[in-house]
């Protein structure tokens, strides 16, 4: 032990651990409550729907009616789980993007990730046969291309600061891929193989069955696991390259790994549910408000909040009216409204 080390281990007694530990406990408690809320809403969502009458299915009916049971097990359960995973993937991806690019205004829908995924999925349905794994793979590929393009364009642009350049480049790339999906749908689809434009651009979880869920589980779970395992590391990766290097990280490789994981999870859900915006932008901000900016707490909070948000939106989407409301409409409605409220209320600062 050198003189330096011993000096840093103070001779006087260490300060009470309560302050630091207290904050840690508060963060853990928030996460626990969020998890509980998610579970509760998940269970309640199974009882929400339009059978046999709008809004509520009573549990007793569940006992008596075999059709109700089938409906809940075969239609509602996979759909509700998919909505939850959708929210988690989008919110997690948003958190990762915001921290790695040091830009609080990005989300998968702004950087060409969601649009690239939609394009990849549509392309593979039309020209590559449309097998589910191929669709996911194609979606992931084009989502990565979208992200890479946004980043490279932002590097080369000469207008404005980094945050502005990245957002502008991302919007341009997103628009390109959206147009691509439109062209595929309108010009190249005489046999109506593709779902409609409304599905791609506004998202929707109607028609989700167990097989859809099972196909997207591996990519989503893998992506979420990587993100969760590296959640503290994400803090490190949001620093300058030099600083991160000086702390022993390989910033390029580690960031690439995280980005690929996040993008793969997002691409998988987009290929099943279309593009749902605003979740990736709003939820990380909300999570940071609740647990602080450190990703070791903010990322899990993002995942839980994202799942909750998407779940509630999807419940409303399939229960409010007789017809299905596209999920993206509700997510935008609530997401953008909440975001505006947050932007305007600078006074809300949660005690950490």
């Amino acid at each position: 032990m050198t003189a330096a080390d011993s000096s840093l281990q103070a001779i006087r007694p260490p300060p009470p651990a309560s302050l630091a530990a207290g904050r840690a406990v508060a963060g853990r408690r928030t996460l626990f409550l969020l998890g509980l809320a998610l579970l509760l809403v998940l269970l309640l969502s199974l009882l929400a729907g339009r059978y046999p009458a709008p809004f509520w299915l009573s549990p007793t009916r569940l006992w008596q009616d075999p059709m109700a049971r089938q409906l809940v097990l075969n239609l509602r359960l996979p759909r509700v789980l998919t909505a939850c995973l959708l929210g988690m993937a989008l919110a997690g991806c948003g958190t990762v993007l915001q921290m790695i690019f040091r830009n609080p205004l990005v989300e998968p829908g702004f950087l060409g990730v969601s649009q690239g995924a939609a394009f990849g999925a549509a392309f593979s349905i039309l020209y590559l046969g449309g097998a589910p794994l191929l669709v996911e793979g194609s979606a992931t590929f084009f989502a990565c291309v979208g992200l890479a393009l946004s980043y490279l364009l932002a590097r080369r642009a000469r207008y404005g600061g980094w945050i502005l350049r990245l957002v502008l480049a991302g919007i341009a790339v997103s628009a390109l891929f959206s147009a691509g999906v439109g062209m595929l749908k309108y010009l190249a689809d005489p046999l109506t193989q593709l779902p409609g434009i409304v599905f791609w651009m506004l998202g929707g979880l109607w028609g989700v069955t167990w097989s859809d869920l099972l196909y997207l589980l591996p990519a989503v779970l893998a992506g979420l696991t990587v993100m969760m395992l590296m959640r503290w590391r994400l803090n490190l990766l949001s620093l300058n390259d030099e600083t991160a290097f000086s702390l022993g990280a390989a910033p390029g490789r580690e960031r690439a790994l995280l980005l690929v994981a996040a993008v793969a999870a997002t691409a998988a859900v987009v290929s099943v549910a279309g593009i749902v915006g605003w979740i990736g932008l709003l939820i990380p901000h909300l999570a940071r408000r609740l647990t602080g900016a450190g990703a070791e707490k903010a990322l899990p909070a993002s995942l839980l909040l994202g799942g909750l948000f998407a779940l509630v939106c999807d419940d409303l989407a399939r229960t409010l009216l007789a017809g299905e409301i596209p999920l993206g409409i509700l997510a935008s409605l609530f997401g953008a409204a909440l975001f505006l409220v947050m932007m305007l209320s600078k006074n809300i600062r949660v005690q950490r």
Binding site: T2, A10, R102, L236, N240, E242, S246, G248, A249
Partner: protein, 262 residues
């Protein structure tokens, strides 16, 4: 040089470097010895290669020729973790758009001691708090970084590097943007760290800084060493004029070296 070769904690020999594509050599055949427990200032005009030298010493750039030895071993031979436990960096500016608290930020300095997927524990928190204390910022541990003043932010960056428990600290222009008061605080802390045995290597465009705290000084001009050695011998009027290309005068005031230009 006054010291025998290979006795310093950091020793550089024959270092040459050029950036790909510019073609121009930024550093030419540079050699340097840094004794342990001292403060060494690397001085020179803008563009003389100071920051590049720092990056090479950190290991983030690879030289075309020459060698760098850290604690007797070649720099390349260290794994990133080993290296980061010995060598810390305090960059000139760290820009973080999110509201990390000072403590969360300093905790990042514990990365070299954590396994790849590990999260800092209680022991790490203690070390981080100690580092904050050493920088005099313990009372600010919960404050978000953007609310700190320039001087406090510089000190917090130093604290983050201290949390690595390094033996060598590289500092890039540590007082460049600070007002007089904060400059003084930072210099105090640097002196204290050196007294505790940490080797400091700092770059500065201001020779006054070297005069204030350095033991050794290295004058760089166009990527080559003009003069290197103890501060008394190096910070002379004629050496400084040759390095910076303007007339420089050096005075002794109350035992302190004062450097002024016209």
């Amino acid at each position: 040089m006054n010291l025998t070769p290979s006795s310093g904690i950091l020793s550089v020999s024959g270092l040459s470097f050029r950036y790909n594509g510019t073609g121009q050599a930024v550093l030419r055949d540079l050699s340097l010895e840094v004794p342990a427990g001292t403060i060494t200032a690397i001085l020179g005009p803008n563009g003389s290669g100071k920051t590049t030298l720092l990056r090479l010493l950190l290991g983030i750039l690879q030289p075309q020729a020459g060698s760098i030895r850290l604690v007797g071993r070649s720099l390349d031979s260290y794994s990133p973790r080993e290296r980061s436990r010995l060598l810390g960096l305090v960059p000139q500016e760290e820009h973080i758009p999110f509201d990390f608290s000072a403590l969360e930020y300093v905790l990042l300095g514990r990365a070299p001691y954590l396994r790849p997927l590990e999260i800092p524990g209680e022991a790490d928190r203690q070390v981080a708090l100690e580092a904050l204390r050493a920088a005099g910022l313990e009372h600010l541990q919960d404050r978000p970084l953007p609310t700190l003043s320039g001087g406090e932010r510089q000190l917090v960056t130093i604290a983050r590097a201290l949390a690595q428990q390094p033996r060598v600290l590289l500092l890039d222009e540590p007082t460049a943007h600070l007002d007089l008061g904060n400059r003084g605080r930072v210099l105090d802390i640097l002196r204290r760290l050196a007294a505790q045995g940490i080797t400091l290597l700092l770059t500065s465009h201001d020779p006054g800084l070297a005069a204030a705290i350095a033991h050794q000084a290295v004058l760089l001009r166009a990527g080559q060493v003009v003069e290197a050695g103890p501060v008394e011998g190096v910070l002379t009027a004629e050496r400084l004029s040759a390095t910076y290309g303007v007339p420089v005068q050096v005075f002794q005031v109350e035992g302190r070296r004062v450097i002024i230009t016209n």
